[in-house]
């Protein structure tokens, strides 16, 4: 029973976060001062997620290995040059497989 109540609490609370601004904004314009910070939500939030994934493990600082970092660099450079995330994955994964197989 507790399990279902917890899941319901997390689910309903999460949906409230998602929907809050859709209901509050309605037909109104957001004030102009919000433009500048909102333009940074994307890079800031992706950076935070990437930082957590690559440099932490089980609640403490712990960087991934050389193979992972090399594949990350390859993905970044490829997407920067081509503008295509799928191509980034296609270049990064073979590098990751090779370096993982080589125990780097």
């Amino acid at each position: 029973m507790n399990t279902w109540l917890v899941l319901l609490g997390v689910g309903v609370g999460t949906y409230c976060f998602r929907v809050a601004m859709f209901v509050l904004v309605g037909d109104r314009q957001l004030p102009a001062w919000t433009d500048r910070p909102l333009a940074f939500v994307g890079p800031a939030a992706i950076g935070a997620l990437v930082g957590g994934m690559l440099f932490t493990s089980h609640g403490r600082f712990d960087a991934v290995g050389l193979a992972e970092l090399a594949s990350v660099a390859a993905a970044f450079v490829t997407v920067r040059r081509t503008g295509d995330v799928a191509k980034g994955l296609m270049v990064a994964f073979p590098i990751l497989w090779l370096l993982t197989a080589a125990n780097l």
């Binding site: 319901l8 037909d27 433009d35 994307g42 800031a44 993905a75 994955l89 993982t100």
Partner: protein, 255 residues
């Protein structure tokens, strides 16, 4: 009935520039297609969560139900892990909601693009507000060539294809009891897809500084309680980005 009118309600008054069924579906498919690299990234994550559900004490039905209820991988994983470990229910709910506080920021950024849509459309659109829909759809909307109705269709195609694949991959992993082959390194699919997005999002010096600050703070603040580090890193990076932009004297890109 077109996709647009199905989504917006048959009495939607605003004119739409493409009314044929095929163009609506094509637009929804275009959204799904442009989301595909992100979808490829969440499927292995879904498999991993599904495999965890199959081996945890939470129960198969509750575990499967958690996927569509939460629709956010990190918070769902944290919830399931804490339930399995027997943590206090209030602590679990608060921790998961702290992880998901960033959705409030995404909602703030996405909501203006759906201003003027019917309430039930906005309620539906909000269901798939998540990292990937924000990262893929906002830059697409900023190109300025989609009307409100077409933004709804594009967004729903992108968002619900992603959500469907995420939930389906979890169900499949629970049903099959699948274990990921470690040599495939699918654990890196989600971070690599996000790094690709980062390469696209860091279009100038202030945004690059913001992203760098976010990475550093997320790593340095990892020991903060209740998984606060992601949210703190995001907010700190926004401050860094805004400060850098004000110093360089450039104008903000209107959202």
């Amino acid at each position: 009935m077109t996709v647009e009118s199905a989504v917006l309600g048959a009495s939607a008054a605003a004119p739409i520039d493409e009314t044929s069924r095929s163009s609506g579906w094509r637009l929804a498919l275009a959204g799904a297609r442009e989301m595909a690299p992100m979808t490829m990234g969440v499927v292995p994550f879904g498999f991993a969560i599904g495999a965890m559900i199959a081996s945890s004490s939470v129960g198969v039905w509750a575990g499967i139900a958690s996927a569509p209820l939460v629709l956010a991988g990190a918070a769902q994983l944290a919830t399931l892990q804490m339930l399995d470990a027997g943590a206090d229910p209030a602590v679990i709910v608060v921790s998961a909601l702290v992880i998901n506080l960033r959705l409030l920021l995404y909602g703030t950024s996405l909501a203006p693009w759906f201003r003027g849509a019917r309430l039930r459309t906005r309620l539906l659109v909000a269901e798939v507000v998540i990292d990937q829909t924000h990262f893929v759809c906002v830059p697409r909307f900023e190109r300025g060539d989609l009307t409100l109705e077409r933004r709804v269709v594009y967004y729903c195609g992108a968002g619900f294809s992603l959500a469907g694949a995420f939930v389906a991959s979890q169900v499949l992993a629970v049903v099959l009891g699948a274990n990921l082959p470690p040599a495939a390194r699918l654990d890196m699919a989600a971070p690599l897809a996000l790094v690709g997005l980062l390469a696209k999002a860091t279009i100038d010096v202030p945004r690059t500084l913001a992203a760098g600050a976010a990475i550093c703070v997320a790593a340095a603040a990892v020991a903060m309680p209740f998984h606060l580090s992601t949210l703190v890193a995001t907010l700190a990076a926004i401050v860094v980005g805004v400060t850098a932009q004000l110093r360089s004297g450039r104008k903000a890109v209107p959202s």
